[in-house]
């Protein structure tokens, strides 16, 4: 038999059961309306969406922790790798740039300078890369369960945040070992991390949507992030390289200011400012801390709000392709 007949038969059958006879031709949409049924696919409004996301916070954190646990579950040392990986990374950079290359003589305490930059940049880089894969790599999950899809990029960022907290412990120890003092500025470290996390969440939401639609992004992303790494002054001081007439290009200060509009550069500079006082203020004039803070706050708010809005706009489309 063909399906329209069965549809009509069903619509008819709806009548006698509740005492309100349906007409033979009652369209199914009308029947649905009469019983208050809603369409299965509908994008909730943004406030509702955010509330649903908040209700799923336990899923987000458990998913993030589970991914971190399962990542090392096959190795003998297990979770210890969460500490060992940043330690080994720091060790390699230290030996390469601190000892062998002798590094930059312009920057006092270059190892601390470098490792701070590396850890801060890695956090953003890994969040963004994870975010780009969070939708396209979890299609089976998206096609099986109902939840606000933003939970996935969010979980990937939180996973990286958990890793970062351990890296920060290593970093603080190294900074102390290299002879930097503990200052009151350390109290601002959580604020700096909060701003960076807000930016990372926003950026990974944007890339999650882009990555869900175009599968070539994951191939391209390593090159983009590497270019970003070199442009963000992880290995050198942007201020020094651009403005200083003796050691750099001797360009006007506004060129450096523009280069610090790069969010990664700004968050790195912010963290260095807090951890290595005086380490980055060598060049005449120097970059203004107010400028760095403004850039950091701007990117945090802009990325978070814009990212959520951009991601939410395609909520009902995820999982289709």
């Amino acid at each position: 038999m063909s399906q329209p007949e069965s549809a009509v038969a069903d619509a008819q059958a709806g009548g006698p059961n509740d005492g309100t006879p349906a007409t033979r031709q009652e369209p199914l949409a009308k029947l649905a309306e009469r019983y208050g049924l809603r369409r299965a696919i509908a994008r909730p409004r943004l406030p509702v969406y955010l509330r649903q996301l908040w209700e799923r916070r336990h899923f987000v954190t458990t998913y993030a922790t589970s991914r971190n646990v399962s990542k090392y579950s096959t190795s003998a040392l297990g979770q210890l790798w969460q500490v060992l990986t940043p330690l080994l990374n720091a060790g390699i950079y230290w030996v390469m740039f601190g000892l062998i290359l002798g590094a930059s003589k312009n920057i006092p305490n270059y190892p601390a300078f470098l490792i701070t930059g590396m850890f801060v940049f890695t956090y953003t880089q890994r969040s963004v890369t994870g975010g780009a894969k969070s939708i396209s790599g979890n299609l089976s999950l998206i096609r099986a369960l109902h939840f606000p899809r933003a939970a996935l990029p969010l979980a990937y960022t939180i996973q990286e945040f958990q890793q970062l907290l351990i890296s920060m412990g290593v970093l603080l120890a190294l900074v102390l070992i290299t002879g930097e003092p503990i200052t009151w500025f350390w109290l601002l470290i959580p604020v700096a991390l909060l701003l960076q996390t807000m930016f990372n969440i926003g950026a990974s939401l944007v890339l999650a949507r882009v990555g869900a639609a175009s599968r070539d992004l994951n191939q391209l992303l390593p090159f983009i992030t590497r270019t970003w790494l070199y442009a963000s002054g992880v290995f050198f001081s942007i201020q020094d390289k651009v403005v200083s007439p003796a050691r750099g290009a001797g360009l006007p200060q506004w060129v450096a200011d523009v280069m610090y509009l790069n969010p990664a550069a700004a968050y790195i500079e912010l963290m260095r400012d807090l951890l290595i006082p005086g380490g980055t203020r060598l060049a005449p004039g120097g970059i203004s801390p107010t400028w760095i803070w403004s850039v950091c706050v701007f990117w945090a708010l802009f990325a978070l709000i814009g990212g959520f809005w951009y991601f939410w706009r395609a909520e009902e489309k995820y999982g289709r392709g």
Partner: protein, 274 residues
């Protein structure tokens, strides 16, 4: 079986069986309405012999602006309409690739319709919690993760945890990674987790195919119970015995269209003779 299935009296296979007499007043009202539903989804990486994936061909395609031949569109569901009611347990049968699983996902609201619509009362849930699970993790962690994935809160998870372990019958294996489980144990745990939550509309995809005789009986009881509690149950299975024992209505899908819809025995007989 026949005694509690008034639908079995229907002689015309085209007429869906009347729902069972209502214990509650809601019984018999529509819970899911599928209205001329079409689902088309894209598959990546599919290629015919002529389009062998090498770099030169990819470049030529790009230059000729031919788009992406690896991307195929699959018209999986082609105009399906039906009404499901409170208290219904509907079996969906059909050959591999007939669109059964796709239809379930569309009812769950997980695949956007190409045209047509699905209307539901409450949120249908697919018994697909396995997608959230991680094989490298212990059963214990997976229970917690699965419960959160279904939208439970910490209090509910603590309440349900022991019940899930007991129902699945995996015992001390709950401390072991799921990758060490036999396929039957994995299926039992997945079913136990997924059925721990009360669902308005529950969609089950091949969940009962595995597991031993004892567990099959237990899970059928659980489905019956869930059916009575409120909702509508959809069941996809290749094992026709399970369908016959559990469902009061069967929809036969063939190439994305409904070929037959009605009383289990009629439809199953026709299906077996086809």
């Amino acid at each position: 079986m026949k005694a509690d299935e008034p639908g079995a009296e229907n002689t015309d296979a085209r007429v869906p069986p009347a729902p069972e007499p209502a214990p509650g007043s809601r019984s018999g009202t529509p819970t899911v309405i599928v209205d001329d539903l079409h689902i088309i989804y894209r598959v990546y990486g599919a290629a015919t012999d002529a389009e062998k994936g090498n770099a030169a061909n990819a470049l030529m395609r790009l230059l000729k602006r031919q788009g992406r031949p690896q991307m195929k569109e699959v018209h999986a569901v082609r105009g399906v309409s039906f009404v499901a009611r409170h208290g219904d347990a509907i079996g969906i049968i059909g050959r591999n690739g007939s669109g059964k699983s796709t239809l379930l996902r569309a009812i769950a609201g997980l695949l956007p319709p190409h045209s047509g619509a699905v209307y539901t009362d409450g949120q249908p849930s697919l018994l697909g919690v396995n997608a959230a699970m991680m094989r490298e993790l212990t059963g214990e962690r997976n229970i917690v993760l699965g419960c959160y994935a279904m939208g439970m809160n910490p209090v509910q998870v603590r309440e349900k945890y022991q019940e899930i372990v007991d129902f699945s019958g995996i015992g001390e294996f709950v401390q072991f990674p799921m990758s060490t489980y036999s396929s039957g144990m994995g299926a039992r745990l997945r079913f136990a987790i997924a059925s721990a939550k009360a669902h308005d509309v529950l969609l089950i995809d091949e969940a009962l195919a595995t597991g031993d005789r004892d567990f099959k009986r237990k899970s059928q009881e659980r489905i019956k119970q869930m059916r009575e509690e409120a909702g509508t149950v959809f069941l996809v299975a290749h094992n026709l015995d399970v369908i016959e024992e559990t469902c009061n209505r069967v929809i036969w899908l063939h190439k994305g269209k409904i070929k037959m819809d009605g009383d289990p025995q009629k439809v199953l007989t026709a299906y077996n003779n086809a």
